[in-house]
């Protein structure tokens, strides 16, 4: 994985010193809270309901075991012994003191980490495919391109006071595991008919209160123009994105209002102008970055057989392991969704254990997924059983990847100052309702996503079943939607009808799964059945 050189290290060290100075000036009363707020946000620090929350960047979701270990230590030293992995492949701490925040950033900088631009109206942490470098279906590893974009977007002087936040995802396979088209910019690395690599740009996707699937703006940007084209996309947005209403300020609204043809025309014009400005790093910079993401030293001839005699182990492998491009290896996902647990939460001890397991079984590497789980990307099949035993003993062996218990949920009203309703207790009740393994297995792949407000941090629009918490006359009320999906066949969920109470929505989810099981044909997943039979039978079961 990527290693900082002296320049990268100096940049994060300087950032720590800068934020220490800014915090001191704020505490000394030399800045108002309004003046300080964008500065702290761009260092990942939110003021939440009960305390400050710090969001640490995990660029493209990739971590070394040393970095993971420090994340566990921070949970102990500065928080209440927990970390919360997020849908943006980051980690958040919910109980932070303002005056300790610069010390946390200094601890992070020692292991080449930071919280730069994890919040605020700027280009956020770049996300990517959690199976990058390991998946059998990828064209190339997308992460070097994400790293190039990380450096370009960090402290970009023109783009730190954008109309609104700006999220970029980079993938390099046709199977989209990063919800690429639900980002402000989604980039897919592709090969053109001449055999050259380049970037397809999708611009103007997003969730929030107006979910949009990003249209294709340009099918091929040569690799040596990637930064210049990105800069053109951002400049048009910075100049013309709406600033009169924060709910209409994302780039998706601009692209929607002027149309993708007009937006791309403006980008092309700016791009032509910027190409003459010499802002593109030389291709040698990309070539410098790429070797950091070279394959690890796989064992040649590693055994490709798996002893499945332990049924619990076999169950976990079937649910949580994914094919690897290298014979004899698999990609293992650690579910952070135990029955009745808080989705994405891990204790300091669990985080350190995962760090050790990444070191011992996965060439020192771990990934955070946008579904709030942890991936060990390169595990020998021969080591899988030992890995599973260690995970299972620590409560990390839940075999429910992509099943109904693998719920994405935002922090909701338990923590978040924006939320209208709680998300976590709903997730806990649903996972308890479907806790029986045979029941979950009958339902199969079902992506259930819960947001505690319209900002949609829990990605409910993209859930096969989505739940949105709203405030209705002072009571929490939950709207149900069906048929959302991220990936190559991205679709947005449709609302079933009137909302439900907290317990009512758990019953409603059960009714919906019953309709699916009664109508399922052959190997259909929930989503397939829904797409075939439509909303009507579900509505009938829910409201008649």
């Amino acid at each position: 994985m990527y290693k900082y050189d002296q320049y990268d290290q100096a940049m994060v060290d300087t950032r720590v010193a800068e934020f220490r100075d800014q915090t001191a000036r704020r505490i000394a009363g030399k800045m108002t809270e309004d003046q300080f707020k964008p500065l702290r946000l761009q260092n990942g620090l939110y003021l939440q309901l009960h305390a400050y929350m710090l969001r640490v960047a995990v660029p493209y979701g990739t971590l070394s075991s040393a970095q993971m270990r420090v994340l566990g230590d921070i949970a102990d030293k500065y928080d209440r012994g927990y970390g919360h992995f997020t849908t943006r492949q980051n980690i958040q701490y919910n109980w932070i003191k303002l005056d300790e925040a610069p010390d946390i950033l200094a601890d992070l900088a020692k292991v080449e980490m930071h919280a730069i631009q994890t919040s605020g109206n700027c280009i956020r942490n770049i996300s990517s495919d959690q199976y990058a470098g390991a998946a059998a279906d990828e064209l190339v590893d997308p992460r070097p391109y994400a790293e190039l974009l990380r450096q370009w977007s960090s402290f970009h002087p023109e783009f730190l006071a954008l109309p609104r936040k700006f999220k970029i995802a980079v993938i390099a396979s046709d199977t989209d595991r990063a919800a690429m088209r639900l980002h402000d910019i989604g980039i897919q690395i592709v090969r053109n008919s001449a055999g050259e690599l380049g970037c397809a740009f999708y611009v103007g996707g997003g969730m929030g209160r107006t979910p949009m699937i990003a249209p294709l703006i340009r099918d091929f940007v040569p690799l040596d123009q990637l930064i210049t084209y990105s800069e053109a996309c951002l400049r048009v947005y910075n100049r013309y994105g709406r600033r009169d209403n924060k709910y209409k300020a994302r780039i998706k609204i601009l692209v929607h209002e002027i149309g993708k043809e007009e937006y791309s025309r403006q980008v092309e014009e700016e791009f032509a102008h910027l190409l003459a400005q010499g802002i593109e790093p030389p291709i040698a910079e990309l070539e410098r970055i790429i070797p950091y993401f070279a394959d690890p030293a796989y064992e040649a001839g590693a055994s490709d057989t798996l002893d499945r005699s332990d049924p619990d182990f076999a169950l976990w492998v079937d649910h949580n392991c994914h094919a690897h491009k290298q014979p004899g290896y698999m990609i293992a996902t650690i579910s952070l969704k135990p029955v009745g647990g808080i989705p994405g939460d891990a204790s300091a001890d669990q985080i350190r254990l995962m760090a050790d397991l990444g070191r011992d079984y996965s060439f020192d590497e771990l990934r955070v997924t946008h579904a709030q789980n942890i991936v060990l990307p390169h595990v020998r099949k021969a080591d899988l059983h030992a890995l599973w035993q260690a995970l299972d003993a620590a409560g990390l062996g839940t075999p429910n990847l992509d099943a109904i218990g693998d719920i994405i949920a935002c922090p909701g009203l338990d923590y978040c100052s924006l939320a209208n309703a709680r998300s976590i207790p709903i997730a806990q009740k649903i996972s308890e309702r479907f806790a029986a393994q045979d029941r979950s297995d009958r339902i199969g792949e079902l992506k259930l996503k819960i947001s505690g407000c319209i900002n949609a941090c829990g990605h409910h629009h993209a859930g096969h079943i989505g739940i949105l918490g709203v405030d209705r006359k002072g009571t929490e009320n939950y709207q149900l939607s069906l048929g959302g999906c991220e990936g190559a066949d991205t679709s947005l969920g449709q609302i079933t009808g009137p909302g439900f109470s907290e317990d009512g929505v758990v019953d409603a989810v059960e009714k919906v799964t019953d309709v699916y099981l009664a109508n399922k044909q052959g190997e259909e997943r929930f989503l397939d059945t829904y797409r075939r039979i439509g909303m009507a039978p579900f509505k009938e079961a829910l409201y008649d």
Binding site: A10, A17, F155, Q277
Partner: protein, 142 residues
């Protein structure tokens, strides 16, 4: 008009009142112009050869359109004074310098010592911008 507190130029200050961008075509001799956030800096390009001062207005420091306006003017070859006016704060000075501003007229005077620290903090930069600084990729590859 607010007073210039910081200036990074050796030439004599321009004292002409800055005219609104929209009135420029009639006032053909004007040497100073003011650009508001919603205005297109490129409308100024036909007149650039006689302009000596461009004031870019920041009614709120959170509105970043002025950063793009500044870079667009520098990219078009404008070498006159480029002044940031209004809600200009210590922690935005360095970014504004990178986008080509070379004078500052903050609505509320800045702490001079804090401003100096902020302006000299970053030894290196990741991007090419309007200040001619060599980005890190340039230093890596020559």
């Amino acid at each position: 008009m607010t007073e210039v507190q910081l200036r990074f130029r050796d030439d004599a200050p321009v004292n002409d009142p800055a005219l609104p961008l929209g009135s420029l075509s009639e006032a053909s001799n004007a040497a100073a112009v003011r650009i508001e956030p919603g205005e297109d800096a490129r409308a100024l390009l036909p007149h650039l050869d006689r302009i000596k001062l461009v004031e870019i207005s920041f009614p709120a420091f959170t509105d970043g359109r002025g950063y793009s306006s500044a870079r667009i003017l520098r990219e078009a070859g404008y070498t006159g004074e480029l002044r940031a006016c209004g809600d200009v704060l210590v922690d935005q000075l360095g970014l504004m310098r990178r986008c080509g501003f070379d004078s500052f007229a903050p609505a509320a005077p800045l702490d001079v010592a804090d401003a100096e620290v902020a302006l000299s903090r970053w030894a290196d930069v990741y991007q090419a911008a309007a200040d001619g600084r060599a980005p890190i990729w340039k230093k890596r590859h020559g």
